[in-house]
């Protein structure tokens, strides 16, 4: 403040003189002011693709929520609501499901092609195709076969019954007439960039900034959306995104950076709303590395990190330190497992126990080589809190004598290195879950191939077995008990160093009303949002 005053009490006249002269010049060619009825929202991550299957990022999943529909949906108070299906029946063994589809639903686009049962069958077969690269495939493994009985009836048979079979049918339906020439889904297909769906908003255009314009679909079967246009603007700089919000250039920011929360909270023009509490951050250890395959070493690394200090310094204590593979907001979190405390002596002891030798320069392994791990991190200009965590981590480990070689990779190469080639020792990332808290695809040894989620190649027969049991269980309490056990085992085994779970905050101007943000899908009921 002192600085401002000093600078501007004296120079204000001069500066504003120059600027106002220029404004006058500019206003000569000024255009109209923004028409109301367009919602601008800011994202920090540019979506990879826009179809709901090939991307693995939240930003494109949010968009696909606006463009596509499933057979059924889940609203924010956990109720199943019909979407493209009007009603459904289930056989007594809960393995055969018959859905009666809504009539008079048409796909976006001028030709208004009607939606029918063949689209559903086509979608399932397309995603199940072995060449389709999608992290959603686990969900489709449950479908044994799918059959269109007539234009408005589909029959599914499942491989096994499970607790929430109905929830399987929330998958998004793709148009057959647009994709019929593809056998499998590919990131490069034109559909992935110009999607067509049945949802409340239709894709209008996307420029190379990936500023994506969506237009309200007046024929939407759940009622015409109130906001005429939604425009997604990606920002490469989160500071600027925040400024854009506070200067009314944006109406909503989807993921507010932790360092802006205080500022926006104090500003009465905006509301902050928390969502996706079911996410957590972690350091993942590649089990293909001989040293990191050793449980003692992984535990030692977890002991060496002072998570409390980091949480306080970087996030102002706005989060909870976790002890295992679930977020504390999940039903599966085992409250009896206490997070490991920071204890560098114990870490050193564990490393010695694992056969490493401590020298004054640091630890060396049995061949006399210094212990050194590659920590690969994406360069994300917009997410610099990641950088802080990684640097602090390196610092903690240096203190106990383990060298960390930080490798910053450009985001695309990072994804390739981590998910496809598994070429890393340690990495830092964040998982976001829906409320099924299903960690099957993250820790089951079956999913350790390229582009699947078990990129650390974790392989523990006991965990595999428990995951299988949890998937097959039809008893709620049993499912919880198994997950509690999994939590215990994984906390002990430390395939990750589990860090914390943070609440994500969205901020929007108070000009908007009826805003309900779905806990993990975000735009679930955007067709009801409106401007005051």
């Amino acid at each position: 403040m002192y600085f401002n005053k000093l600078l501007f009490n004296h120079h204000r006249l001069l500066v504003s003189g120059i600027i106002s002269g220029f404004i006058a010049l500019c206003l000569l060619s000024a255009n109209s002011i923004a028409a109301n009825g367009t919602l601008y929202y800011g994202e920090s991550i540019k979506p990879d693709t826009l179809d709901p299957y090939t991307s693995r990022e939240m930003s494109s999943l949010r968009l696909s929520e606006l463009i596509f529909n499933g057979l059924i949906g889940i609203n924010e108070s956990q109720e199943i609501v019909p979407e493209l299906a009007e009603s459904w029946e289930v056989s007594t063994d809960k393995k055969t499901w018959i859905f009666h589809l809504r009539k008079n639903v048409s796909w976006h686009g001028k030709d208004n092609k009607p939606f029918n049962a063949h689209d559903v069958v086509f979608t399932v077969n397309l995603v199940k195709h072995p060449k389709t690269q999608s992290s959603h495939k686990t969900q489709f493994d449950a479908f044994n076969s799918v059959l269109a009985l007539d234009d408005h009836t589909v029959k599914f048979s499942l491989t096994q019954k499970s607790l929430n079979s109905l929830s399987l049918f929330t998958f998004k339906i793709l148009p057959k007439h647009k994709l019929s020439r593809y056998k499998y889904l590919n990131k490069l297909s034109s559909f992935s960039n110009q999607p067509i769906g049945t949802g409340p908003y239709s894709f209008l255009s996307s420029n190379t900034n990936r500023e994506i314009t969506l237009l309200a679909n007046p024929d939407y079967f759940l009622g015409s959306p109130k906001i005429k246009k939604i425009i997604m603007q990606p920002f490469s700089d989160k500071n600027i995104m925040n400024q854009a919000l506070t200067f009314n250039s944006l109406d909503m920011v989807v993921d507010v950076d932790p360092r802006h929360i205080d500022e926006l909270q104090a500003d009465s023009r905006f509301s902050l709303i928390g969502y996706n509490t079911l996410s957590y951050s972690f350091f993942a250890y590649n089990h293909n590395n001989a040293l990191l395959n050793n449980k003692l070493i992984r535990q030692a690394l977890s002991y060496a990190v002072n998570r409390k200090q980091m949480l306080k310094a970087f996030y102002n204590n706005n989060g909870a330190i976790i002890s295992g593979p679930f977020a504390p907001g999940s039903w599966a979190y085992n409250l009896d497992v206490i997070p490991l405390d920071f204890d560098s002596n114990k870490a050193i002891a564990l490393l010695k126990q694992a056969g490493l030798i401590k020298t004054p320069e640091g630890f060396i392994d049995s061949h006399g080589k210094p212990v050194r791990f590659n920590l690969k991190v994406p360069i994300e200009k917009n997410n610099e809190s990641n950088k802080k965590i990684v640097l602090a981590y390196k610092n903690y480990l240096n203190k106990i004598g383990i060298e960390i070689n930080l490798v910053f990779l450009e985001k695309k190469s990072w994804k390739k290195a981590i998910f496809a080639q598994h070429d890393f020792d340690i990495t830092f990332a964040t998982w976001a879950f829906d409320d099924a808290s299903d960690i099957d695809d993250i820790f089951h040894s079956r999913y350790n191939t390229a582009w699947q989620n078990n990129f650390i190649s974790y392989n523990n027969p006991k965990v595999d077995q428990l995951l299988g049991l949890a998937l097959a269980s039809t008893d709620h309490q049993e499912k919880r008990t198994i997950n509690h056990k999994l939590h215990e085992i994984l906390a002990e085994d430390s395939p990750y160093t589990f860090l914390w779970s943070l609440t994500r905050f969205a901020a929007y101007t108070n000009k908007l009303k009826n805003i309900q943000i779905h806990p993990y899908k975000f735009f679930e009921n955007a067709h009801l949002w409106e401007f005051k």
């Binding site: 500071n239 602090a392 450009e410």
Partner: protein, 269 residues
């Protein structure tokens, strides 16, 4: 006036050299890797941290000293590469036919019609964002322009039939090239050019830091210090980026003044 500018420039550059020496011998006020997570973004001029701390609670002064290495050495590489190769190429134009000079001209035109950052993007997209590689590219891309400048000078000398008479007097070719052309007649120009290239290399590293591809942390460079501090600027925490930014400004202005001194001297010649 000249004396003042000279003093100022030498003072700034000497400080940078001292910083570099201190950093390489380990005379640092704080441990550069030591995080004081309870002292994040401390204001400068406090008792413990003279220039305050950055967003991780590291001492800004220490990192400023340490940053000279990653910041100036690569720049020097670019400069020396461009100057040596460029001047040799330029001096060799005495043997070139007209077409040879045209090629140099064309290359220079090529490089002039493409923003240097774009060249760097292409390189980064293909290889890893490694600072020495970036500076290598900057150095190489300046060779034709240096060569052209030397060539112009050579042409002037030729007009004065300076070279022909030297050859006639039986001096060996390399003596003519290095001693008479480059040293006696081009040193002012080359020095000016060197400081221009240095300026550009420094600014380029800073710009790349903003885009995330400069020197990567935990290694410190002034560019990534400014970038990291700038994230906190809009919240009013201006110091951790302002201090390195001012440092950059001081060094660049010193270089600028030196360049002008050289050019003025040249004019008088």
């Amino acid at each position: 006036m000249e004396l003042i500018t000279l003093c100022y420039a030498t003072l700034v550059l000497l400080t940078v050299c001292t910083f570099y020496l201190c950093a390489s011998f380990g005379f640092l006020p704080h441990d550069p890797e030591d995080l004081a997570l309870d002292q994040i973004l401390a204001a400068p001029l406090n008792t413990e941290y003279l220039l305050g701390t950055d967003y991780m609670g590291r001492d800004v002064l220490t990192r400023l000293m340490l940053g000279t290495e990653a910041y100036f050495l690569p720049g020097l590489l670019a400069v020396s590469l461009a100057i040596t190769l460029g001047s040799i190429l330029g001096a060799m134009t005495i043997f070139f036919t007209r077409n040879g000079k045209r090629i140099i001209n064309l290359l220079n035109n090529c490089l002039q019609s493409m923003p240097r950052l774009v060249i760097l993007f292409l390189v980064i997209a293909i290889f890893e964002p490694e600072i020495y590689l970036i500076m290598l590219i900057i150095g190489i891309s300046h060779i034709p322009s240096v060569a052209r400048i030397v060539n112009n000078r050579v042409n002037v000398l030729k007009e004065k039939s300076f070279i022909n008479s030297a050859i006639a007097s039986g001096l060996p070719i390399h003596t003519i090239m290095f001693k008479h052309i480059l040293w006696f007649n081009c040193r002012g120009i080359l020095a000016a050019q060197a400081s221009l290239i240095m300026t550009e290399a420094i600014l380029m590293e800073t710009s790349l830091s903003y885009l995330g591809f400069g020197v990567q942390e935990p290694a410190s460079s002034w560019g990534n210090m400014i970038q990291a501090g700038a994230n906190y600027m809009l919240q009013g925490e201006i110091w951790s980026s302002t201090i390195p930014a001012i440092a950059v400004m001081l060094v660049l202005s010193a270089l600028y003044l030196l360049t002008h001194l050289f050019i003025n001297k040249l004019d008088k010649q």
